[in-house]
Amino acid sequence: MLTIATGNKAVAAAVKEARPEVVAAYPITPQTEIVEQIAEYVASGELDCRYIPVESEHSAMAACIGASATGVRTFTATSSHGLMYMHEMVNWAAGARLPIVMANVNRALGPGWNVWAEHTDSLQERDTGWLQVYVSTVQEAYDATIMAFRIAEHRDVLLPVMINLDGFVLSHSMQRLETLHPGDFIPPVNLPHAIDTANPAGYGTLTGPDDYFRFRWDIERSMRRSVGVIAETEQEFADRFGRSFGPAQEYRCEDADVLVIAMGTLAKEAEVAIDRLRDEGIRAGSLRIRWLRPFPELDLDGRDLVVIDRDYSFGFGGILAQSLKSRYRVDPYSVIAGLGGQEVTFDDIASFVRERKPGEERWFGVSDDV
């Protein structure tokens, strides 16, 4: 059905179609609309699900862990400080190999209190063993949420998936949305290690170095396998529902001399900048990173790179720029922009490209004098 929705409503609508059996969540701006909408679906009977109104995000993830361990589908949503408070259990969920799906509405971290978009929250969770996808439109938020369940629950993966969407800019933006009935696109959950009282086992017991090490390797092995599972899932989604995305989305990249690399809505805005630059005769393209974990295979050879980070690792650099640098031995122009919801327009992005200085880092909109 063709309709119009906010990013938050799109995520909730997708969750309704995925039919989780337990949702445990705690509200936080700008994510609240997602859990309110799910609570509404449950109250109205549109979704046959237990909604657990937990008292904290730590408990939200803990409750999802407990439910998921019994072998049922679970979902939660959070943002920013909620994700930070949940951090311990975010690690636990991945270590326990539970296919929990979570939407994180990207928001800056305090102090000072700031409710606007920034990616540092989810990037602080990048080493937890969760798969992470960053979306740029309402439709993509919907589609990625549907696909997340299938990917997480795939036998070769069995790892949780985090869908990330920019706070307010996308979570509260209304755009066209085509909803769908996934049908058998998401098969029933079949958790091989679900708790079984007829076959009692200890879960997460004391584990010595050798076994622990093996379990960690197994997470990494599944993370590597997930590349194929994501590709296969996205291919089937494209075949059945007509939309495809990929690990990274290219816009006018084929003959580009310079690539703008970013995530989320900034990368979408960059496409407009690319059109402007092309009109000026600058052969630019936009490469939008979607899947941050597993990190995508990219062809960056021989191009100038302008990497926009809506995040920062203090004392180190833009996390995306540094990741690309270490992975591909490239020397990008690293622009730090959009922190705490800072306004970044397509004109600004075009100027980053025009003024690029490979190897240098620029904090957009600040000068050393201040």
């Binding site: 606007w116 307010f168 509260h172 933006s173 209304m174 066209r176 979408k268 805005e269 327009t345």
Partner: protein, 175 residues
């Protein structure tokens, strides 16, 4: 692409107006986005929302710098916000006001949305509802069709006084 900036105060329904406008444009078969700019979400604080309407998918998320149309739901925000900032030279203004307020250099349409809401007793928690009548005014300027305006309103509100308010604004606004 047609860009609209809506100025209001928190609690007056400017954000919902933006969403309904986008919804109406969608019913017209167009692409539309509504992006509110959220500050502290306090009642009474100046609020800005943005609507973009186009025949093609919209990829811009940044705030509207050069609107084609400025909608002012509460003229008192004009004392604290430069509501005409960046308005295109040929840009227009819809203002919730009686008579016409002097606005240099821009075609300005005044419509008494508050009066329309009060006459229909469309009041929530003591505040007149402005976001449904304003859709009638926008339809009069042919930014959306009146059919789609009414459809968008009834998608979101079941009380038919809302569509009547839009019709009243449509009638009242003089081109």
């Amino acid at each position: 692409m047609y860009e609209i900036r809506i100025h209001s105060r928190g609690g007056q329904g400017g954000v919902t107006a933006a969403r309904m406008l986008a919804l109406a444009a969608f019913h017209d078969g167009k692409y539309a986005t509504a992006c509110p700019f959220y500050g502290a979400e306090r009642r009474g604080a100046p609020v800005v929302s943005y609507v973009r309407i186009d025949d093609h998918p919209i990829r811009v998320y940044s705030q509207i710098r050069s609107p084609d149309l400025v909608v002012i739901l509460d003229t008192s925000v004009m004392d604290v916000v430069d509501v005409f900032h960046g308005l295109k030279p040929d840009g227009k203004v819809i203002m919730n006001a009686t008579g016409t307020r002097e606005v240099s250099g821009h075609v300005t349409y005044a419509v008494d949305l508050t009066g329309i809401a009060l006459s229909l007793n469309l009041v929530i928690a003591g505040s007149p509802i402005l976001n449904t009548p304003v859709l009638g005014a926008l339809a009069k300027l042919e930014i959306i069709s009146m059919d789609s305006a009414k459809k968008a309103i009834s998608d979101m509100f079941s009380d038919d006084r809302n569509t009547r308010a839009a019709e009243a604004a449509y009638q009242e606004l003089v081109l």
